[in-house]
């Protein structure tokens, strides 16, 4: 059984189609990045999955339970972090976590340890002030802590690293990676670097539609057109002519003794280029492969 199975999930706001027949599967114990530009429908999807909004059509299952008819069976087993978590400002972080632990009926002995641990990893242990005085970043961290208190099997996070400083971001990403070993982490983001660092699989959403869903590796293989930068002692005119006839080459640019070769396929380039260079009798000074970043792929896919 998969952790999340989304089947034709659709949400309309009046005439506006916010989410258009989304189909998606997320494997258990994986970190799944849900990518898309602002307004793509990421938050709407998360709100539908956690029962805050109701789908116009379609449905989804979380841990085998239907979000429409069995949401009460889902809540004890999930954690949720909204984009901007809001708490009772008159409480302290510890009081809020105690309140959440009360809801989950976590026994007092276990609760103390758990709350201490969560405050420790979110760097909130020494903060004794009320939540109303917290910065956005501190609220985000507390949001993460409250989402983890019940040891959820699936955790939904909407933009978990926004509002965090670089150190806070790094800590949260590390925490998410370690979570992914025993928990399914489903998070939305538009920070591509985060996805590249921690995700097993990604889905890209654009204007309410799923553009692609696959592992990061296969996404890169599929969309990446790597550029090989070669530098020789002499002008590689002959080699340029030969390469122009190769079917796996997309583009070649020569700058005196240097060549910039865009390959349609990374593996073909890695295999064929050294052979052809060897045959051309040129002395090679440098050989570099530039893989396009996820950002390049993203821009290409969503047509930015």
């Amino acid at each position: 059984m998969d952790a999340i199975e989304i089947d034709g999930l659709t949400k309309k706001f009046g005439d506006v189609l916010a989410l258009d027949h989304l189909n998606l599967t997320v494997k258990k114990n994986s970190v799944f990045g849900f990518l898309g530009p602002n307004g793509a429908g990421k938050t709407t999807t998360l709100r539908l999955l956690v029962g805050l909004a109701k789908p116009t059509s379609g449905t989804a299952k979380i841990l085998g339970y239907n979000i429409k008819s069995q949401i009460n069976k889902i809540y004890p087993r999930i954690g949720f972090l909204p984009d901007i978590p809001v708490f009772y400002g008159w409480m302290t972080a510890k009081e809020y976590l105690n309140f959440v632990a009360d809801i989950f009926k976590i026994p007092h002995k276990k609760r103390e340890k758990k709350i201490d641990y969560l405050l420790e990893i979110t760097n909130l242990k020494e903060v004794k002030t009320k939540i109303k005085g917290y910065s956005r970043g501190m609220k985000k961290k507390l949001g993460i802590a409250q989402a983890l208190i019940n040891d959820p099997e699936v955790i939904f996070m909407d933009e978990p690293t926004s509002a965090l400083d670089p150190i806070g971001r790094k800590e949260i990403l590390e925490m998410m990676t370690s979570l992914g070993k025993e928990t399914t982490v489903f998070f939305s983001t538009h920070i591509l670097n985060d996805v590249e660092r921690i995700c097993d699989s990604v889905a890209i959403l654009h204007e309410g539609r799923l553009v692609t869903e696959e592992s990061l590796e296969s996404l890169k293989t599929k969309y990446s057109k790597p550029i090989f930068t070669l530098e020789f002692d002499d002008r590689p005119d002959k080699l340029t002519k030969i390469l122009k006839n190769m079917p796996w080459i997309e583009n070649i640019e020569q700058y005196n003794n240097a060549l910039k070769v865009t390959s349609k396929n990374l593996k073909m380039g890695q295999k064929e280029l050294p052979n052809l260079i060897a045959k051309s009798n040129l002395s090679l000074k440098s050989f570099q492969i530039e893989e396009p970043s996820l950002e390049d792929i993203f821009v290409k896919i969503v047509g930015g």
Partner: protein, 252 residues
């Protein structure tokens, strides 16, 4: 229980409890002397104007009437102002999102809020009533305990009706000002019911306050309030059920 505990904690930590108690203490301490000295104040104002008005000597009943007048006007307004944001504000701010995505039902949220605030108002009214009663005894040197208790009891039920109306609008709307405004309109409509026909005058919850006044002046017995008490509890249950039903259907 977790949400009820949180509500009580919030009532004390946000000083709401002290504000409500202070309001009722103010009524309790102000009403008896105002009733006692009202004739003298009026006379001193009219002095020298050549107007002769005979004002009867105030009794302990005037003190109680003054107290209940405050309860039915400023007190009711305070209940609406303090309750209109109960659910609406949590929804508008976003605190409700984090709560209802956990194993807690929306019904629990609404009922906990009702129970916690009903307790707050009841306790504050009891404190106010005790002080008002003993202060009145000291000033007027008279007693009317049974009627005073009965009228207070009817006012408590009336306050629960007001709370349930306000909580109903707060649960179905995300704007607390709108919830407060509609509560005032609903309450005003409810209070004109008795003037529409005799049946409504006898059975509707609005009859609680008019019967209360009659009990105080021995124009009615406590038993005359039986039907208004029953219809009030039916209205409270209906409003809470409908509020929860609508909230369950809504997106947060």
């Amino acid at each position: 229980m977790s949400f009820l505990k949180k509500e009580f904690m919030g009532i004390f930590k946000t000083y709401k409890a002290w504000v409500v108690i202070a309001i009722f203490l103010f009524f309790a301490f102000m009403s008896p002397p105002v009733a006692k000295f009202a004739p003298e104040i009026v006379e001193s104002l009219l002095e020298g104007q050549g107007t002769a008005i005979s004002i009867p000597t105030p009794t302990i009943l005037d003190s109680f009437t003054q107290y209940f007048k405050n309860l039915s006007q400023i007190g009711i307004l305070a209940v609406i102002l303090l309750s209109m944001g109960l659910v609406a504000d949590e929804r508008a701010k976003g605190t409700l999102q984090l709560v209802i995505t956990k194993p807690i039902s929306r019904a629990t949220v609404v009922l906990s809020k009702f129970l916690a605030h009903a307790s707050l108002f009841i306790v504050s009214m009891i404190i106010g009533a005790i002080i008002c009663y003993f202060y009145s005894i000291v000033i007027f040197e008279a007693e009317k305990l049974t009627e005073f208790i009965q009228v207070n009891f009817l006012f408590i039920i009336y306050y629960l009706v007001v709370l349930s109306i306000t909580l109903f609008f707060s649960a179905i709307l995300s704007n607390q000002i709108a919830a407060g405004g509609l509560s005032i309109v609903a309450l005003a409509s409810l209070s004109i019911l008795p003037s529409l026909n005799k049946i409504l005058a006898k059975y509707s919850p609005a009859a609680l306050t008019s019967t209360a006044n009659n009990i105080l002046y021995k124009k009615a017995s406590f038993l005359d309030a039986t039907w208004p008490i029953i219809t009030s509890f039916i209205l409270i249950a209906a409003l809470l059920t409908l509020g929860i039903f609508i909230l369950n259907k809504q997106e947060i």
